[in-house]
Amino acid sequence: MPDSVLRGRGLTKRFGGLTAVSDVDIDVVRGEILGLIGPNGAGKSTLFRLISGVMKPSAGTIELLGKPMTGKSPNAICVAGIAFTHQIVRPLRELSVRENVSVGAAFGRSPRASHAEVHRIVDDVLRFIGLADRADAEARSLTLSGQKRLEIARALATDPAVLLLDEVLAGLNPTETDRTLELIREVRDRGVTIVMVEHNLRAVRSLCSRIVVLVEGHKIVEGAPDAVLSDQRVVDAYLGSAAHA
């Protein structure tokens, strides 16, 4: 694919005898929102950890804009342009919302040294994400949905080329979900390519231009949402997991 921003080849992660991610190829096209779905334990979050450098792959390579990323540390990968949000929020608890976002702005892909510049970026991101009025609150004082938005705000402040969203909708009520969906679209419109792991298939269908399905560590289908979601293998996988549960 010519316009591939992020390219993974043969990505594999083994934990002892268990293979969580098995020989997965992934291509993310500039400007798209790619959905990554699959039953619980399919290896979606592990795949994200491999891409973001939190875990080293047992085999396979990752490239961002043609540059090799495999084996780099998470901070180097963030500086290169891949940002991600934690599935379980990880705010810098005792720092203010502003300080949390400042970390991303000061150390991300286009690190800024001057206070004024960091300030400007942070103000911009906070207004965009809708946290401007809570800027001086301690991060731990935010509600869950607030902390989820803070995760996105921090990641955006790093000025990523690709943003990995790990279940940002989980735990949100319908109103918050709709707001967040709108937010994700706006992020995409700002020119950020997005990959999202999501259980909410309705959201995935409405948001994503393409979907990749992982089952037991393998990529089984990939393509347009409607085609993928009606694919028999995907239906079986989901029904199968429901039957097991």
Binding site: N75, C78, P91, L95, S102
Partner: protein, 319 residues
């Protein structure tokens, strides 16, 4: 907020002026000057420890290693006729270089594991100083021939303390300080936001070690004697931990206040009951950790809040 910080700066400048003039006021009272010297020396040490332990949250139980390296470097160099200013710089740099050597492996360890490894580092340097007799004189230590006057020592300690405080202030408001705060709160999250956490920690350790190496240099010329147990001893490492915690870990003024309290308590007990001071510090440490982890600074903040609340309440009546 602006007013508050300005008021703080004014207060600090006033204190500095008093400190600069103190030797005139004290006249020939050497003990008083001695105590003030110690407060500033310990203040510099506590403030430097705080860069790593407070700002970056990496509590070290082995900082005596840097003080010891600084003190021995100065003792050894001055025996070879090196002038004091050069000895201070050399002491600082050597302690800094040593910190890089241990920082690289030690920072592969997290939180409490790092802290425990530092106990080992402190103990290891003491053992080396004890056994490298050719260089260090072993257990009998080294004596220095001559010291500058107490006034020179006093101003040197004051200068070092000011440098440590200014560096802390700069750190607190800089990008570097932001990285350290992120490391303290959640190193993994910091890492995914682009912070090179290991580098940030090593920088903090290096700055801390250099400043403490210089403090070790002043220690040596003040006492004219260094031995493994005095500078490398575990009680020295304990002092490094206690002072900032009493005053307020992670704050600017806390370590200095802590150093003053520490010096005061130690001087009180020194004449009466050996080790009672450490007993008091142990109890103080427990009380602070359980009731007010921000130490005296935390208590001050609470008091300030209580007072401003009362004045707010009182205001409508008055108006």
């Amino acid at each position: 907020m602006k007013l508050l910080s300005d008021r703080r700066a004014l207060g600090a400048i006033a204190l500095l002026v008093v400190a600069l003039l103190a030797p005139l006021g004290l006249g020939g009272w050497e003990y008083g000057l001695d105590v003030l010297f110690l407060i500033f020396l310990y203040g510099a040490m506590a403030s430097s420890w705080n860069l790593l332990g407070g700002f970056a949250g990496q509590v070290s139980f082995g900082h005596a290693a840097f003080l010891g390296i600084g003190a021995y470097t100065t003792a050894i160099l001055s025996a070879r006729g090196v002038p004091l200013p050069f000895a201070v710089v050399a002491s600082a740099l050597l302690a800094g270089v040593f910190s890089l050597l241990i920082g690289v492996p030690a920072f592969r360890l997290r939180g409490p594991y790092f802290s425990i490894a530092t106990i080992g580092i402190g103990e290891a340097t003491r053992l080396i100083a004890l056994n490298w007799t050719g260089l260090t004189g072993g257990a009998s230590g080294l004596t220095l021939a001559e010291a500058p006057t107490i006034h020179v020592q006093y101003y040197a300690a004051l200068a070092l303390c000011v440098v440590a405080v200014l560096f802390s202030v700069w750190t607190k408001w800089s990008r570097f300080g932001l990285a350290l705060a992120a490391v303290r709160q959640d190193p993994d999250a910091a890492e995914t936001l682009g912070v090179h956490t290991t580098l940030a920690k090593i920088n903090a350790l290096f700055a801390s070690a250099c400043l403490i190496g210089a403090a070790g240099s002043l220690y040596a010329v003040h006492y004219l004697f260094v031995s493994p147990d005095s500078v490398f001893g575990f009680s020295t490492s304990i002092a490094f931990v206690i002072m900032p915690i009493i005053g307020g870990i992670g704050t600017i003024a806390g370590p200095i206040v802590g150093a003053a309290v520490y010096t005061f308590i130690r001087e009180q007990f020194a004449a009466t009951l050996a080790n009672a001071d450490l007993l008091a510090f142990g109890l103080l440490l427990i009380a602070i950790v359980v009731f007010e982890p921000r130490g005296i600074a935390g208590i001050a903040k609470r008091a300030q809040r209580a007072i401003s609340k009362r004045t707010e309440k009182a205001a409508p009546d008055a108006g």
